[in-house]
C-alpha cells in the first residue's frame, strides 16, 4: 500500500465557520417551548395544506382509475409521492394518525406492485380515512375512533393481500 492510498484526516478546527458557537450548550427549555408553541400555531394552516395534498392524492387516484391497469404505474407513483409527503408531515403538526395512515398507504403502494381495481379501492379507503381525520380534527392517535379506523384499514389491506 502506498501513502497515496492512505486516508487523509482533515480536522475542522473552526467548525467550518467562525459564527458557530465554540462552547457546548445546555438545552434551553424556554427556547424549545417557544419553538413548539410556534409549530402548534401552524396546525390550522396544516389542515389547509393537507386538504390540498388530499385533493392531489384524489386526482392521482382518479387518473389511475381512468386508465387501463397496465398504464397505471405513473399515477400510482404520483400517489405514493403525495402519501409520502402526508406521512412525513402529520406528526409534526399534532396529527400522527395522518402519518400512520400515510405510512400504511406508502407501504401498500411500495410493496404491493398491484394496480388493479382492488388495489385502487385500498387507496380510496385510505384517502377517505385521511379526509375523516382532517374533518373531525382527530389529533394525536384519534382515540377510540382513530384506533378503530386504523384497524379497519389494516383489515382491508390484509384482505386485499390475500386475493
Amino acid at each position: 500500500m502506498t501513502m497515496a492510498d492512505e486516508p487523509e484526516i482533515i480536522e475542522i478546527p473552526t467548525r467550518s465557520s467562525p459564527s458557530l458557537p465554540a462552547e457546548p450548550v445546555d438545552i434551553d427549555p424556554e427556547l424549545l417551548a417557544k419553538a413548539e408553541a410556534l409549530v402548534a400555531g401552524l396546525r390550522p394552516q396544516y389542515l389547509s395544506w393537507v386538504r390540498e395534498d388530499l385533493d392531489r392524492l384524489q386526482a392521482t387516484w382518479e387518473s389511475a382509475r381512468a386508465t387501463e391497469i397496465v398504464q397505471r404505474a405513473e399515477a400510482m407513483r404520483a400517489a405514493f409521492a403525495v402519501a409520502h409527503d402526508i406521512k412525513g408531515q402529520g406528526g409534526s403538526f399534532g396529527y400522527p394518525l395522518m402519518t400512520d395512515i400515510g405510512a400504511q398507504l406508502c407501504r401498500f403502494l411500495e410493496a404491493g406492485g398491484r394496480f388493479d381495481d382492488e388495489a385502487l379501492e385500498v387507496v380510496r379507503l385510505h384517502i377517505e380515512a385521511m379526509r375523516l381525520v382532517v374533518a373531525d380534527r382527530m389529533e394525536g392517535d384519534g382515540g377510540d375512533a382513530g384506533r378503530k379506523l386504523m384497524r379497519g384499514l389494516q383489515a382491508v389491506i390484509v384482505k386485499t393481500a390475500g386475493k
Binding site: I12, S19, L38, G113
Partner: protein
C-alpha cells in the same frame, strides 16, 4: 439558562415542499436565527450557496430534479463547491437502514427522521455544533468521519489496510411496476 444563541448562524433549507420549508423556517426562527435561505431542490441549493454562506444545511432527500443525495455528493466533491465542509442534516421519511447508510456514505452529518419536531431538529442542530466531525478523504469517499464513536479496537486498522468498497449504486425508493 444558557446564553447560547443561534442568532448568528446561517441556515439553508433545501426542500421541494413549501410546507416543510415553512415548518423548518418557523422552528429556526424560534430558535433565534433569522438568517434563513430556502431552495426548492438540490440544484437551487447549490446555486444559493454561492451567495449565501450557510453554516448548516437542512436538506430533504426526495427532490427533483436534483435530489438530496445528489446535492450532497455535489456539495462534497465538486471542484467549484462553495463549502465542502458545511454540516448537512438530512430529513427524510426513508428511515430504513439501507437509506441511512446511503446518506452517510454520501457525506451527511446527521439523519433526521420525518415527521420532525422542534425538539428533534433542535437536538440535531446542537449535535452538529457540539460534535464537529473531522473529515476523511479516502478512495471513494470524502466527507465527515463516518465513525461516530472512538473505540480502542484490537488488531489492525482496517481503514489503513482495506479501502472501503465503492459506494453502492443508488437505489432510491421505487415502486414496483407490476
Amino acid at each position: 439558562m444558557s446564553d447560547y444563541s443561534f442568532e448568528h448562524l446561517n441556515f439553508l433549507i433545501v426542500d421541494d415542499n413549501q410546507h416543510m420549508r415553512t415548518l423548518v423556517r418557523t422552528i429556526i426562527y424560534a430558535l433565534g436565527s433569522k438568517r434563513v435561505m430556502e431552495a426548492g431542490d438540490g440544484a437551487d441549493g447549490f446555486k444559493a450557496l454561492r451567495q449565501f454562506p450557510a453554516d448548516i444545511i437542512i436538506c430533504d432527500w426526495n427532490m427533483s430534479p436534483l435530489d438530496g443525495l445528489d446535492f450532497l455528493r455535489l456539495l462534497r466533491n465538486a471542484e467549484d463547491s462553495p463549502n465542502p465542509y458545511v454540516p448537512v442534516i438530512m430529513m427524510t421519511g426513508h428511515t430504513e437502514r439501507q437509506h441511512v447508510l446511503q446518506a452517510r456514505d454520501a457525506g451527511v452529518h446527521e439523519f433526521l427522521a420525518k415527521p420532525i419536531s422542534a425538539r428533534s431538529l433542535y437536538l440535531h442542530i446542537r449535535s452538529v455544533i457540539e460534535r464537529p466531525a473531522r473529515f476523511v478523504r479516502c478512495q471513494g469517499y470524502f466527507g465527515p468521519d463516518r465513525r461516530r464513536r472512538q473505540l480502542d479496537i484490537a488488531g489492525k486498522n482496517r481503514r489503513l489496510i482495506c479501502p472501503r468498497p465503492a459506494r453502492p449504486a443508488e437505489t432510491d425508493l421505487q415502486l414496483q411496476l407490476g
